[in-house]
Symmetry: C2
Subunit: 293 residues, 2 copies
């Protein structure tokens, strides 16, 4: 801080990883739904999850923040508290940024800088026919929280931690890169159907997913399982979706996080989902629109 740029040492033999993500009021969050610390946490989680998806090490983050004139200072304090708490968790420094007044709502742009050993970043384009498809954790918790909020239900952040305080899977991404296990990887930010589509498109392959194998999140005070549709298409779970050669032994738990095999990569360019009776239907990406208005 204090100079025109931040100077960040990149470890010897590493390349820089950079990602930028907007978090916009009424698109990615609502002030009436999300406590300020959750907005700050989720803003940073988006950036760190992108670093995780490349198998990278986060180094520093930069925050550009446009705020409406009438926003209470306590909201800004809460936002920064949530963001900095998550940053400390991964020993990432907030190394700079910019502030301005917004004519609309709160707009935050997070820039995450990380590094990865030269040539070792896990890309979306490395999946090969026969590779198995895996996902970490459980899916659908974030989408079901949005669904409940949009129907006017009051939910408690502690009952929906994967929505309000998602933890980016940095350690899992690092393990998969270090062990050279993942042939391709992406984070589940747009939803399984869309993000699997990203891997298949970049790798020029298709996939068959077993509907039964999808890990459904348990949510709420009563710990009920989410509907399959939330796990298939809901975004912002920030789990990792990756592929690995069939011969590789992928642990069922990495860095304390469950890892589930959910399908296989195919030569054909289409993506299918098969139900427990063996009936296949095409698995169309369904764009995750943040809040259906």
């Amino acid at each position: 801080m204090g100079d025109d740029c931040a100077v960040v040492p990149i470890p010897r033999g590493h390349q820089a990883l950079i990602t930028t993500d907007f978090s916009l009021e009424d698109v990615h969050f609502r002030r009436g739904w999300h406590p300020a610390d959750s907005v700050g946490h989720r803003c940073l989680a988006r950036g760190l999850s992108d670093i995780a998806a490349m198998g990278g090490e986060p180094l520093a983050v930069f925050l550009s923040l446009a705020l409406p004139r009438k926003l209470p200072q306590s909201w800004v304090d809460g936002f920064l508290h949530g963001l900095l708490k998550l940053a400390r968790n991964f020993r990432v420094i907030l190394a700079g940024g910019d502030t301005a007044q917004s004519a609309g709502g709160v707009m935050a742009d997070i820039v995450a800088l990380g590094s990865v050993p030269k040539g070792k970043a896990v890309l979306r384009s490395g999946a090969r026919p026969g590779d198995r498809v895996y996902v970490t954790g459980e899916l659908g918790a974030s989408a079901v929280a949005i669904d409940l909020l949009s129907r006017g239900e009051e939910i408690r952040p502690r009952d929906f931690p994967r929505h309000f305080h998602p933890m980016p899977r940095i350690e899992v991404g690092r393990f998969l890169r270090e062990k050279k296990l993942a042939s391709s990887m992406v984070d589940v930010s747009d939803g399984l159907s869309t993000d699997l589509g990203h891997i298949c498109e970049e790798s020029r392959v298709g996939a068959v997913i077993e509907g039964d194998a999808i890990p459904l999140a348990m949510v709420g005070k009563s710990e009920r399982k989410v509907d399959l549709r939330f796990a298939l298409h809901g975004g912002e779970d920030y789990e990792l979706l990756f592929t690995a050669a069939a011969a590789r032994n992928v642990p069922s738990r990495i860095a304390g996080v469950k890892v589930r095999e959910i399908g296989v990569i195919t030569r054909g360019r289409r993506v299918w989902i098969r139900n427990k009776d063996g009936v296949k239907q095409e698995f169309q990406p369904q764009g995750w629109e943040h809040f259906k208005k």
Copy 2:
């Protein structure tokens, strides 16, 4: 593009430089005043100028862009044309970014990534008593353009190139760093009085500036000199302000850009400006508010 992060190789033995800058409608530009290509150009120039001020080499830029729903596509095309043309000029790639819909006006956040040999970045904190103070080019052209626009005058971009299409001083910054000439440096984005204040504050020194030595910009069709006040306090000139030890021989022209000695660094912590009669008065930073409303 196509992956969760951009992977950027940092040259061996270099550190990464990062800077982020907002360009906001009605704060940094007005659509009625600035052609779209000028807005795109100036947006990128802000970021590259920060890299120049550290003596860095620009590598890649990232653009986060929030656009109002009704914005014509031709405006976006013009904006990108201006930005990409300047990027090509410095062989910088647009390596990623994010887009969103804005509830207010156009909001662009530019992230510039550069590099500098390890430990060689020129900081604001290196000025020492006795060092001479230098500035590149001429000052005040940008502020006078804003002044004319705000008074309803129509001005042509080609008569005010330093306002509409400022060229970041990358080559000058590189030369000063390579030759180890500059002991401290900043770009003149907030105005001479404010930016000199930044150097003095970070270096814990003061300065005496010779009012007569300030290079006044020539502007307009008739090439008249700007008033001194625009050169002293006007922002967004994107020239370089630097200090060098008295014993060092600083060329009067670097990479085709004039370099002018304008004062000296002092032990006392205050900053003075002296007129041609030798009368000193305190040189107070006057915050450059973009458009005085």
